[in-house]
């Protein structure tokens, strides 16, 4: 069954996008990325170390020619900083597909949707393909799609909380109304959360903390890979109808 995952006209093999933060070291990052089967990772933009000239870089371990780098504006609290970050990211290697994340509160890490919308409008005009981290609100999601977002990325729960999907109904509504891919971003804690996101009909899931903070990140990366595949297949297969009472699986006829 043909089931392509396409974002901004680019085809991806895996519906799982993995974040590269919080790992013990670059080797563990690279191993987890491989185990997850992903072909797109989020990356942050930060100052280079000017004192340690031999410091290894992420690119030494994960080749951007093999795995798509999705520059992210994590840590930005206003449009100015987010735009500056993504313009620098584009200069680094021509990256046009980016993830916009403008935070509004240090405690909840909820997005500032006013700044997010403002930034999306500017980035789209500048030719960026913007995947937008947003609140799980259908009205805001619709607005983002209308102004040209390439993907809508509603949170399942606060970033790094591992609480799982808190508002299934809204995620379902967002998916139903969207013509661009909907990717659940943030809040996934375990494999079943990823499966639920996919069973709700989402096009993909973005996971970082749940893998990096697992006791065994490599094993969790693999679990997430299968969880996303299972959820997608389950969604496409179409679940059975729920019944209030039992319904025997074996025929009643010819009982001995």
């Amino acid at each position: 069954m043909k089931d392509d995952f396409i974002i901004a006209k680019k085809k991806f093999i895996s519906r799982l996008i993995v974040g590269t933060g919080k790992y013990k070291n670059f080797q563990q990052t690279a191993d987890a990325i491989k185990a997850s089967g992903t072909d797109m990772v989020t990356v942050a933009v930060r100052r280079v170390n000017i004192t340690d000239k031999k410091e290894p870089t992420l690119m030494d371990y994960i080749d951007p020619k093999e795995i798509t780098y999705l520059p992210n504006t994590a840590g930005c609290y206003n449009s100015h900083d987010a735009l500056r970050t993504l313009r620098l990211a584009r200069e680094m290697g021509g990256w046009k597909l980016v993830k916009l994340e403008v935070l509004g509160d240090k405690k909840t890490l909820y997005p500032n949707m006013i700044e997010t919308i403002k930034s999306t409008e500017i980035l789209v005009k500048e030719g960026f393909k913007v995947m937008v981290y947003c609140i799980d609100d259908p009205i805001m999601s619709k607005k983002l799609e209308d102004i040209g977002a390439s993907a809508i990325m509603p949170l399942a729960a606060p970033i790094g909380s591992g609480l799982g999907i808190q508002n299934k109904i809204n995620i379902k509504i967002i998916k139903k109304q969207s013509k661009v891919p909907v990717i659940v971003d943030a809040g996934v804690g375990e494999a079943s959360d990823a499966t639920i996101a996919m069973e709700l009909g989402c096009d993909g899931v973005l996971i970082n903390s749940a893998i990096a903070e697992a006791k065994n990140p490599l094993l969790m990366a693999e679990a997430m890979k299968f969880a996303v595949i299972a959820g997608r297949k389950s969604y496409l297969a179409g679940r059975m109808k729920k019944r209030e009472f039992g319904n025997a699986s074996s025929p009643k006829n010819n009982l001995i």
């Binding site: 974040g19 590269t20 989020t42 990356v43 933009v45 930060r46 280079v48 870089t57 992420l58 290697g93």
Partner: protein
Amino acid sequence: MNNLKKIKIQLNGKRYQIKKGCSLKELLRILKKNNNKVAIEMNGEIADKKKYNKIFLKKSDKIEIVQFIGGG
């Protein structure tokens, strides 16, 4: 005497001394940073990668050199 030929710039938020007339390309070479793995902002404006050898540092320039690191 040698000191006269040096200028002070601000590099990634820190004071940094470098010889006068140094280009961005040379600065990267001194810092042992790969041209293809970084982006440079000069006084708030993004420097064009293709022109690193033609952009020269002046006194008090504010330079930011960034790269990709692990992030969510």
